[in-house]
């Protein structure tokens, strides 16, 4: 990609200005990753008054400044420039080399010094150096703006996801307060049950959200110990048996009798809880969940195959995003925070592992997790 770098040359000597322009006329800068090519656009001024106007008008990336401007103090000019927000990188041209003055110029804000008479190659090297700095600053600014935008989007979605259950509960309470379906309390049992269900969902969402932010910020105290992964999975499966029976789902587990693995036990529980509960929730009556763990030479291969409703390609691509819940006629009554898979993927990444899935509508889903063995 070709981008533009603006250069402003301010020097009282016409010959200096021309020489700078000649040296840079055919010069361009290539970014270190070679993906971006920067061409220079140059403006010139012979006085600081003129230079100041151009500085504000064109917002240059690099300023090449002479020390021969009439009635101007070089150090004062430098200080005024670096007070500007997003000020340019300054290459200060120096007529007579003097160590004390050189130190003062650098301290006042010059990025580099260029001693006259001008040597084209030196000038080009200094411009390249300044360009690298400018590009880094641009990237940092873009990154900060992007981060701000992402944070805003994330907070917006959280606000929406939390307000929905609150609005539902508020709606039921309003109906009860106004005795909209009569005076008999029995008429409101279903509303109370639904309200409690929505509050439970909200609590789960808050827990998931805290898990997610703790993992992302590295704040969670991880305790890596050796334990039998088979035992953890057995416990997770047992905990899900009532939910599976309610939905008439059969769960099977194929794993070595004992499987020593070093990890944070709570993180492994989160992974398997999400795998198993999703496989049950998005299943069909009389369906199945087949879980297996295989120890391979350099990794653990965890597979979870369900006979559930499956997903199309578009839904699969969106699946690991935050607050993504696949909304269709088959999933509309299935509760969830939309954070489980995102949390699971982030934990797997902490172990340098990977998660993949194969699925098709009506044909179930196979999740496969690979965790490297240390």
């Amino acid at each position: 990609m070709i981008s533009e770098l603006r250069v402003l040359i301010v020097d009282a000597d016409v010959e200096n200005r021309r020489q700078v322009k000649r040296s840079l006329r055919n010069f361009s800068h290539q970014s270190t990753d070679s993906e971006n090519h920067f061409q220079l656009e140059m403006d010139m001024a012979s006085t600081w008054n003129q230079g100041q106007r151009l500085l504000l008008k064109t917002a240059p990336d690099i300023l090449i400044l002479g020390d021969n401007l009439p009635n101007e103090d070089c150090l004062a000019i430098l200080k005024s420039i670096i007070e500007l927000p997003n000020h340019p990188g300054i290459i200060q041209m120096v007529t007579s080399p003097n160590t004390d003055q050189a130190i003062r110029l650098i301290r006042s804000g010059a990025s580099s010094l260029l001693f006259l008479p001008l040597v084209s190659v030196e000038l080009q090297q200094e411009v390249s150096k300044a360009a690298r700095q400018v590009i880094l600053q641009r990237q940092a600014r873009d990154h900060a703006a992007e981060k701000k935008q992402l944070r805003f989007q994330f907070l917006s979605v959280i606000a929406h996801e939390m307000k929905s259950p609150l609005a539902a509960v508020e709606g039921y309470l309003n109906m009860m307060e106004e005795q909209l379906v009569g005076k008999d309390i029995q008429n409101y049992q279903q509303m109370v049950k639904r309200s409690l269900g929505r509050i439970d969902g909200l609590k789960k969402m808050i827990t998931d959200l805290l898990d997610l932010t703790r993992i992302e910020s590295g704040q969670r105290n991880r305790q890596l110990t050796e334990f039998s992964l088979t035992q953890v999975v057995n416990e997770v499966v047992e905990n899900h048996i009532p939910m599976a029976q309610q939905n008439q789902i059969r769960i099977s587990l194929l794993a070595p009798e004992t499987l020593p693995f070093t990890a944070d036990r709570a993180e492994m529980e989160i992974i398997f809880n999400n795998l198993v509960s999703n496989a049950i929730k998005y299943n069909v009556p009389n369906g199945s969940v087949d879980l297996s763990i295989q120890r391979q030479p350099d990794q653990l291969l965890i597979s979870c195959r369900d006979s559930g409703i499956g997903m199309d390609e578009l839904e699969q691509k969106r699946l690991f995003g935050e607050f993504v819940r696949i909304k269709n006629a088959k999933t509309k009554n299935i509760p969830g925070s939309g954070l489980g898979l995102s949390i699971m993927r982030k934990i797997i990444e902490l172990y340098n592992g990977s998660i993949t899935l194969q699925s098709a509508p009506g044909s179930g889903t196979l999740f496969q997790i690979r965790l490297p063995l240390f």
Partner: protein
């Protein structure tokens, strides 16, 4: 049109809000047609013409409510549409239907936040049907 015979299309993918809205409207004598999303609402609109529609904004898509509102107004511009949503000023998305500029592209007659009291909803419905 007599108020107690008006048929109102209610579209919301939150099953609780859908049931609450229908119960409130039925209690006030309206007939309701419930749809739990944009897709189901589109199917209903192929065969039926409601007297008023109450649409959730974010369903299958971020702007499902606007899509449906546009469709209804194309079908019959005289059908009043209320867009109701949990997404309001706290998300930076704020709509003021009273401005002509926004009304021209949003194509809805009223915008309400979720969690309204029954009388607020009924008041708005009566105003638009009246």
């Amino acid at each position: 049109m007599s108020q107690d015979k008006a048929t109102i299309l209610v579209v919301d993918d939150d099953i609780d809000i859908l049931e609450q809205t229908c119960t409130i409207l039925q209690g006030a004598g309206y007939k309701t047609i419930a749809a739990d999303g944009e897709a189901e609402a589109k199917e209903i609109l192929n065969n039926q013409r409601p007297d008023l529609a109450i649409l959730d904004l974010m369903m299958e898509h971020m702007d499902s409510g606007f899509i449906l509102s546009h469709l209804i107004k194309k079908m019959d511009p005289s059908i009043p549409v209320i867009i109701i949503s949990a997404v309001t000023s706290q998300t930076g998305l704020h709509f003021d239907i009273s401005g002509q500029g926004e009304r021209s592209w949003i194509k809805a007659d009223a915008f309400m936040a979720k969690g309204n009291r029954p009388e607020q909803l009924l008041g708005e419905v009566e105003r638009l049907l009246g």
